[in-house]
Symmetry: C2
């Protein structure tokens, strides 16, 4: 029965379906996306089984909840459950139902502070209604606020020159997007002109990048981050990868940098960024700066510095990154093409479900800006609540405003909690046999290395699985904790001489019950090692 | 100065930018998107000038407001300003700020009816928080409601068989999307396996389709709707287009049908749809049914009937569309691959800014469903407020519930208003010299034909513009009314023997001040004809 597996189907004719694995776009078939793969599906099945306690499989599960440590989804219920910022949700509710602003009972009860009401009115003055399409680049008042935010952020960064105008941003070069990923996909599509185009991505990387390159049939040029130096970006290693690809005929056009790093949590130094910018200029490469974790910084020794700030500083006379500048280098500020991405999904806001992001294009040809705008128009506009999220992200309550103190308290609490959890998990990992992890300087993840014995490798082979998948599936089965194997980020297990491997996995630092998380993981890891010990 | 036009740029070096019109993806360059082109940009400029009355250009404008009749954006302020449904916004506000549900003052003031509170709780029980990512296909409870809606809609359609189970839908075959357009783009990408793949689209068409086909480098197979029969779909004409394309080596895989029609407002008869389904089966074509206007129906003589309903009816013994069925035909129900799209942006809801939509896949290979799911995962999930919009669309307040009457009153008022405006505009158009328009059976648009004299054609040529663009730009300059020329929908001006043309434009029927709209348009049209009369 050729079509016995067809959905809805009980056909016995000779009809051949049009759309089959063999006939669809082969580049879609090639896309790999590990963050939501077999592990995530199995975790969903367990969660459903736990939710209906009458069903028999539940009784066999050795845990009573699923901890989704596989995705940076801070507000997920019930085991992460980061609380939204009160000011955000007040403004959002008022824009949804503006009559609340004029309701006598609501006013009398002082449910909404004056600055939330003022902000809702300001936003509605521009967008009219959250039910209307906005300008395809995003509401113009919000893009202006983004430009002000960028200038303010960069002019108050460490070692910024005095003149704030040096860090100006143009609202017309800013596009609001459906999360940062919407912008990444759009710009990759612009850049990839033929199958010979290559884009350099870090290994390990966030799989959006490899997936998008597969989808648009571009060449993936991999460069390895340095695990023995806090996953820093080694420009020489990057250069070697790019030269090798170019020798093979690949038209390498851009370098993706994720800073702070995902999955690796490093935060690049200003000198490292300056070297990268110089390199991009010398090699004619567009810089894709994924800076969505810029607010997730856990160590004052390594503050976040934006690519835009470093780029603009090249126009200054002063030396940079410890090196003197040539006249040629001073032109870098006006020549290197840079895209910077930001998002409301991460940081201390964690508002993933609104799908809000933006990118800024720096030094891009205006005709190309026109093409990007045209493509944004085809998708009409990003969701208005996502855009409003961007407005709130870039323009939080100011000192003296009624919501200022609560906003500060809530956001500081979230950041401190994340840092505590990260430190606790990092310490616990490093006390376990065969596990070592770098401290997270930023972002929402730890990426521990795990040494596994040969018998574990053999057991994985027997099941036809990558050994890191095998380990993570075993972890899920034993603990209900769902993480992502390193191979999902392009970081494959490294074979050792003794037949064992060094493998990686990524876990978020978002689990509410950190101690229980660690306890469950530790027990699993010890039992796993005992089971497969030689 | 080679780079004098470069954004941010005052470089004088020999640096060659990486990203230029010459180097980007050529398929992006080829995309045409008329709904937001020169006309829309000029309208934006006028709107800005009107908003700052001190600036000099305003004084010269012969109108005091812009009427955006170019996009179906019902809630746009100030000239369309369709009011959102109260129930929708109550539920949305409660999901944004759940503490409102428990606030004593809010409860005492009875601001939120019990069914809005219950719905908000039900939604939050599933999604946890509007700030969290959902399942990539959309929240599971909402997809279940969509499946119930489809079954209910189809089993209560005219001439439906008695057994509601015949019209069942599977929540696992339903994907929530970022508006309908997000789904269209995703599925086109799946279908387009190589540059020889072709998709048939109606002429005139909604430019999302031609733009998406250009972007993914597929062949556009055009089939003409019949203007002299209310823009009905002539299956013979469609067949001729497809056969011609196949003779030329095009692998035609799918037919797009927009029903009710955009820009043309027709609503297909059940017999017409049945013929199309037969044809799709005989020719192995996937049916792309764009049914986003299914709630915008203005004549009881032509009710909306879904493709899914007609498809499922093929499994019945009864004759269909007036024709008896062969055994072969009865298998159609389980064999023709159908995608149906729906949206919250149109209908009487008009909630464009939330970006909510869904599609249902019928008779698709389960492996292909897996690939579609994988691709949905790369984009994480559609906005939660868009998903909530879908929940409210498919599950409105039921009789007996507190919000039922208000919801009915509001939605009926919107539909009646749309019908009134449509009728008024249709009548006015047909009274003008050289203008004729079909009545809208459905959707949000009129697509009048305009006969222009040779001198108008010559004047357009002199300015290097298409004559319909020339006419629409003149309309904007004279009246502030922004519409879209027929060529933007692929319907080119038709040259006449006398050197004149018959051209088309699309206007929405959304303008709040319909009489003023008509008056402004009439004066312009008469003056335009007088100016260019031979």
């Amino acid at each position: 029965m050729a079509f016995s597996s067809k959905v809805n189907g009980h056909a016995s004719s000779s009809y051949r379906p049009v759309v089959t694995l063999g006939s669809i776009n082969p580049h879609i078939r090639n896309v790999e996306y590990a963050v939501r793969g077999e592990l995530s599906n199995r975790a969903n099945e367990y969660a459903e089984a736990l939710a209906s306690p009458s069903s028999s499989p539940t009784n066999k599960l050795p845990f009573n909840s699923i901890v989704s440590a596989n995705i940076g989804n801070p507000q997920q219920q019930p085991n992460l459950a980061q609380q939204p910022l009160t000011f955000w949700r007040q403004v959002a509710a008022l824009t949804e139902l503006p009559s609340l602003m004029d309701d006598e009972a609501v006013r009398a009860a002082r449910i909404f502070p004056a600055d939330a009401i003022a902000r809702a009115r300001e936003i509605l003055n521009d967008v009219g209604s959250v039910g209307a399409y906005s300008h395809s680049k995003g509401a113009s008042s919000i893009r202006k606020h983004v430009a002000q935010f960028i200038q303010q952020r960069d002019s108050s960064a460490p070692r910024a020159v005095r003149d704030a105008a040096a860090y100006s941003a143009d609202p017309e070069h800013i596009f609001l997007t459906t999360g940062a990923s919407g912008g990444v996909q759009l710009l990759m599509q612009v850049l990839i002109a033929s199958p010979s185009v290559g884009i350099a991505i870090p290994i390990p990387q966030y799989p959006l990048y490899s997936a998008t390159l597969s989808l648009y049939n571009a060449k993936t040029v991999r460069y390895e981050l340095n695990p023995s130096d806090d996953w820093s970006l080694d420009v020489d290693a990057l250069s070697a990868s790019i030269q090798a690809a170019r020798r093979d005929g690949t038209d390498v056009r851009a370098v993706v940098v994720i800073n702070p790093g995902n999955p690796t949590g490093q935060c690049l130094s200003e000198a490292n960024i300056a070297d990268l910018v110089r390199f991009a200029h010398a090699q004619r490469l567009v810089l894709f700066a994924d800076e969505v974790y810029q607010a997730n910084i856990y160590t004052s020794a390594r503050p976040f510095v934006s690519f835009k700030k470093v780029l603009r500083d090249f126009s200054q006379l002063e030396s940079q990154g410890g090196k003197a500048k040539t006249d040629e280098e001073r032109r870098i500020a006006d020549e290197v093409e840079l895209v910077s991405f930001h998002s409301i999904s991460k940081g201390f806001t964690g508002e993933c479900g609104r799908r809000g992001g933006y990118f800024e294009l720096v030094n891009f040809d205006p005709d190309v800006l026109g093409e990007v705008y045209k493509m944004a128009s085809v998708s009409l506009c990003p969701s208005i609540q996502g855009q409003i999220g961007i407005d709130l992200l870039v323009k939080p309550p100011a000192p003296g405003e009624p919501s200022y103190e609560l906003y500060q308290r809530e956001s500081q609490f979230i950041l401190e909690t994340l840092k505590e959890r990260s430190t606790k998990m990092h310490k616990a990992f490093n006390q376990l046999e065969g596990v070592s992890a770098n401290e997270a300087q930023g972002a929402l993840y730890l990426f521990p290395a795990v040494r596994l014995p040969p018998k574990a490798v053999q057991a994985a082979q027997k099941e036809g699985k990558k050994v890191d998948e095998f380990y993570c599936l075993a972890m899920l089965d034993a603990t209900g904790i769902c993480v992502v194997p390193g191979s999902g980020f392009g970081k494959m297990p490294h074979e050792r001489n003794d037949g064992g491997v060094d493998m990686f996995f990524r876990t978020t630092i978002l689990a509410k019950e950190t101690d229980a998380f660690i306890e469950r993981y530790e027990r699993f890891h010890k039992e796993f090692l005992d089971k497969y010990r030689s």
